[in-house]
Symmetry: C2
Subunit: 224 residues, 2 copies
């Protein structure tokens, strides 16, 4: 069964389950899915039950949610669509990197495999999206850079931004204003755990700023 036979919401569910384990490895909860998708937990609970019946996820009531191999395949297809579309919107249509997420969230369900292939060809088989996230290859192989959240980086370290979570468009706009984007170089000046603040210097412009924990968790870095 091709991914296009799944309903739009099934496609979003699978993509979200996969995305949750892309960087952490903690399986996602019903509640977190509901929060992220903007629906109630009962809706998600029911939706997951249906995916389990279709053999796309492993799930017993009140237990964890895991993708089956088939489910993972479809999830990766959707992630690939999403990230290629974001890249296309920035490269070809002059979108800013902080504007593309919502547009891609809808388009990903409407494009054909042919269109995705044409975009991939036109862009020269890109490997990272505008947020720095890896674009899975057509065969589904992911590549995970050795990165960690800015919030967990030792003070005094020089780092480069690898990726910025595209979950929150408002946050992306804020980062764009500050000059924070993939490949920006930073120095972590300090971590204040009780205040939940990370103090950084942006090497490009010398600005020193404090980021709250939501922001410092959304930005992933590697040692420069």
């Amino acid at each position: 069964m091709p991914v296009s036979d799944l309903t739009t919401s099934a496609q979003d569910y699978l993509k979200l389950i996969w995305s949750a384990t892309e960087w952490s490895s903690e399986p996602i909860t019903i509640g977190a899915m509901a929060e992220r998708l903007g629906v109630t937990p009962s809706t998600v609970s029911d939706g997951i039950r249906k995916l389990a019946k279709q053999g796309l996820v492993e799930h017993a009531p009140y237990r964890s949610i895991e993708l089956t191999p088939t489910g993972r395949e479809h999830a990766v297809t959707m992630v690939r669509r999403h990230r290629l579309l974001e890249t296309f919107l920035v490269e070809t249509l002059n979108y800013r990197w902080d504007e593309v997420h919502d547009e891609a969230e809808v388009l990903e369900h409407a494009v054909s495999d042919t269109l995705i292939d044409k975009i991939d060809t036109l862009l020269g088989h890109p490997t990272r999206d505008p947020h720095g996230d890896p674009i899975p290859a057509a065969d589904g192989t992911p590549h995970r850079p050795a990165a960690g959240p800015l919030a967990a980086t030792e003070p005094g370290t020089n780092v480069t931004i690898t990726r910025i979570s595209d979950a929150n468009p408002d946050m992306l706009r804020y980062f764009a204003e500050l000059g924070l984007k993939p490949d920006t170089r930073l120095t972590v000046l300090g971590q204040r755990p009780y205040a939940d603040l990370t103090n950084i210097r942006i090497e490009e412009n010398g600005h020193e700023i404090d980021l709250g924990s939501a922001a410092a968790e959304a930005i992933w870095v590697v040692a420069a």
Copy 2:
């Protein structure tokens, strides 16, 4: 209410009603809509009743279907989306003109106004789609070339193809093979009404061919 608040099928209904009157002026029937959309008449009948309740069409049971001003506005928006997307797929993504209809049929419901504007700008505000159909301007003004179906053209006339109906992708592929596309020049050699055949010569390659009535109704021409 923006057009994006309408359901996908409501968008298709309005677009189809408008398209039916673009060239003829005969209002479309429930049966013709059902046929064209691949659903049963009962489905369309019910759908039209709902559009009437929303003030988008004028329709009393068993009577004709007419767009209200609001309905027409939304319809033209959808036609514009469809034709700009088709043009974009051909110009930017190397689709052939006989491949784009089905892709646009789905994408038209997923794109934002912003995306349509960006495409329009990138393409330099095109006025005709790959099938020769006029692209309504953003303000909704249509422009209708003085064209008529090939089937109704006097034998002996030299003509240029203005548009080719994109309703049937198989037929488009057939035309593409023959070398028939918008702006192709033809001579009508004869009309055989009882056999429902139109005999033409394609000036580009000198080929003489017979077209059945479905084909000769789908091709619209102007005197050269």
